[in-house]
Amino acid sequence: MVDADLERSRTNAVAEPEPNRMYRRRTGRAVAGVAGGLADHLGVPVLWVRIAFALLSALGGAGVMAYGLLWIFAAQAPADAPPPTVGSRERQQAFGLMALGIGLTIGAGTLSGTVNGWVAASVGVALVGAALVWREADQSRRRRVRGAVFGSGGRSATFRVLGGALLVATGIVSFLVSSIGLGQVQFALLAVVAALVGVAVLTVPWWLRMVRDLGDERRARIRTEERAEIAAHLHDSVLQTLALIQKQADAPREVLRLARGQERQLRNWLYGPAGYGRGQVDAPAAMGGSLAEVVARASGEVEDTFAIKVQQVVVGDCELDEKLTALVMAAREAMVNAAKHAGVAEVSVYAEVEAEKVTVFVRDRGKGFDPDAVPEDRHGLADSIRGRMERHGGEIKLRTAPGEGTEVQLHMPRARVAT
């Protein structure tokens, strides 16, 4: 229950989704997800919203304007929002209505005489270009790379952005050419370029600072996330165990079992092959369930089940195959036997990987027994260990005597010599 609380407070801290806020759709969108988002927000079919935008476009381009403004001011839906299902028919409808809206804008503008067709067409071209660039910005924002317009979308993204920019430029130039003379356009262009260069030069320090701040911000965010992860881990594991230990204080065996289990878990988290304290470099090699890991896991299970300490040391390591799996199973059985019958608090396990064989020793300093006096109906050693080993071509040696502890030695030849 505490876990659930924590879970909740953590998600709240990260992203608080206000219920009455409009988001643009992330998937299933035709242009920028504005219509979809608005439809989700108002609870009406997306088709109506699109028709409304298209029709509004006839009123002096109000629909296009509204769409653009909503695009700018409404944020994209959070990444984990459930994606709405969109059929190809709806997509076609959307594109049809979009064309209709643009056509209406231009057509109505031309008819009403406020703008002539030339101007309207150039405005339309500029708008399409702007839409291309903005869409790409949305995409790269989604990819969360550097926040730049280009993002990491590769060459096609670059082409799209450049194409968009080209369209915008064409639209503006053709608009200028239509309304003022060509000579003035040259002058105007020069002036604009000069002004842009001037602005760029003047704002260099500001850009630099923004890039740096962005880096700082990202580092801070990573640190915060890291801290939250550690806190969550400590909470889930250590604090819980400490609470359990306090409750079980009058049951020493149980306390020991909890403490051992927690220690092993934390140790694995800190120093294990894929653990927190390891660099990323070592992790992949050890992911495949190697002998060392499986021995560690088997020891841990025996520790947990029987509330004893299993001191395990593995020298060398190798991939697990069928024979070695049998070896580990046999070793586990030997540990279980020691835990059950030896009457000790500690069992030592030692595994050594050599070029041609793998050896495992399971040893306790407990009661020991007389191997010849084991009743016929006790099959643990006979079947699980000896049988398993011999079926796979291994061998087992047993050293024990009453009062002198027990040592099970398991030898298994390796299938192929490692190169």
Partner: protein
């Protein structure tokens, strides 16, 4: 050890200095050592590297029980600052960490042994007395690491100094038994040698671990910037 316990008056107790940044753990070890034996006297404790270096210089203990993980460089830093001015002080590393680089790093920085904090009180007493006599103390885990480091893998780096870079078969046998959880006495009877000989082998292995340039050892140590 039992002979010493019977005649504590003949021999002055081993003076032990505790270095650990957890005061709770220091208190626990102190209580254990005080109640369990008269052969060991805890003369002081420190919670930081600076305190430890000053305390060791002032008190000149016989044995320093050294935590590996502490702020400001940890046990290795204490070793680096205290070993040269006080070569007679013996260090026994005591840590919760089982990571190879931690273990090998403190050994190569000069500790005479390494035991984990989950060691039983009686074993800790034995370990302290043993290092105070100049012997080395290997936990099974450390024995495993050293065997691993000296393993003859195909493709391993060429041996530059056979005297330091190779273990003798006997040393290997002793280490294997240590890793299997055998006590020195048990190793001695297993290999038909005396406990003293076992100690000699272990000390020799310790020396090789500290001085050898084998790739694994220097890699583990360099992970802690200790070469």
């Amino acid at each position: 050890m039992s002979e010493q316990a019977e005649t504590p008056t003949e021999k002055r107790p081993v003076r032990v200095y505790l270095v650990d940044d957890h005061s709770m753990f220091r208190a626990g070890v102190r209580a254990e050592l005080d109640t369990l034996t008269d052969d060991i006297e805890v003369v002081g404790e420190a919670g930081t590297v600076g305190e430890a270096v000053a305390g060791i210089a002032h008190l000149r203990p016989d044995v320093v029980l050294l935590d590996v993980h502490m702020p400001d460089g940890g046990g290795a830093e204490v070793l680096r600052q205290s070993r040269k001015p006080h070569p007679e002080v013996v260090f026994l590393a005591l840590s919760v960490s089982d990571a190879a680089e931690d273990v090998i790093a403190v050994i190569r920085a000069g500790a005479r042994g390494y035991v984990t904090k989950t060691i039983s009180s009686q074993e800790l007493v034995t370990a302290v007395l043993r290092v105070s006599e100049g012997d080395a103390v290997f936990s099974p885990r450390l024995a495993g690491f050293v065997l691993d480091a000296f393993a003859d893998r195909p493709g391993a780096a060429p041996i530059s100094d056979p005297e330091l870079d190779l273990l003798t078969p006997r040393e290997r046998d002793v280490l294997r038994l240590l890793a299997r959880g055998y006590a020195y006495k048990e190793i001695a009877s297993e290999l038909f040698i005396s406990v003293k000989t076992v100690e000699t082998h272990v000390s020799s292995v310790l020396r090789k671990t500290q001085l050898s340039n084998r790739y694994e050892l220097s890699r583990w140590a360099s992970d802690r910037r200790l070469v």
